[in-house]
Symmetry: C2
Subunit: 156 residues, 2 copies
């Protein structure tokens, strides 16, 4: 029978099952950790958070699961230049959450932004179309990051 409260299985279960993957405690826990933060976590970060919940989950599994999630398109993997990969849930139940980044080269802070994406999308589409034709290149995604000094690092 369906549960009395409104708590059905998390929306991402279907994504795993649909892909032919098993639903496991580590996977469940890792996605949960990612879905509860807006930060850009490293594999180690995820491991530590996950470890508080199930101390037996290994770092290897965290790496494997994150890679799987990236493959599935559920997670974005970024390199902000600090020598370790950063991971972030790519979508919620509602859909994609594509965005770009401001990276502070002083303190390493990373700011998500979607504000100016409308104007950007304009040029992006134009550019992608032009480049596709010019180089006969099938564009599937893009990476846009701005570097500089953040609020806190500016004034001082």
């Amino acid at each position: 029978m369906p549960r009395g409260n409104g708590t059905g299985p998390p929306w991402w279960h279907g994504r795993f099952r649909g892909g032919g993957y098993r639903m496991t405690i580590p996977r469940e826990t890792i996605v949960n950790v990612l879905s509860k933060t807006s930060k850009h976590l490293s594999a180690e970060d995820v491991y530590m958070a996950v470890h508080k919940i199930h101390s037996n989950i290994g770092l290897t599994t965290v790496y494997r699961t994150l890679e799987l999630l990236v493959q599935m398109g559920l997670v974005f993997k970024f390199d902000f230049g600090d020598g370790r990969a950063r991971y972030e849930l790519s979508e919620g139940p509602k859909g994609e959450r594509h965005h770009h980044h401001l990276v502070c080269t002083s303190c390493g802070r990373v700011i998500d932004y979607t504000d100016f994406i409308d104007e950007e999308i304009e040029l992006l589409n134009q550019t992608e179309k032009g480049l596709s034709k010019k180089y006969n290149f099938n564009i599937t995604s893009h990476l846009i990051q701005f570097y500089g000094q953040c609020n806190g690092c500016n004034l001082k």
Copy 2:
């Protein structure tokens, strides 16, 4: 006396001396290697090319020099997702050669493009201005890469 032929000291000598750095064989050789290619070389690539000319130059020095060149602004350092940094001369005697990249996720090919940069610059400036104000963020540079399948990987 100045040399009889038109071969003065390479234009980048001044950049080193001006920065208070010594002009050495390894540095000379490394910049030469970079200036003779339009490819995106890894440290290992540079090392191998340099090794053919002066077999005594070490990989460590290649890393150190590339880092110095990046610091000096003479070289761009990129991450195309293959686990190693890629380097490329940022300017010639004439000036900057800033550009963006198309990265083939199938074969790893990287295409430079400057063609559509005019339209891009428009939005880029707009976006940078908007973001700067909105987040009080001092933008100094940006990274733009498009991913997809190249010419060769497309048709097949």
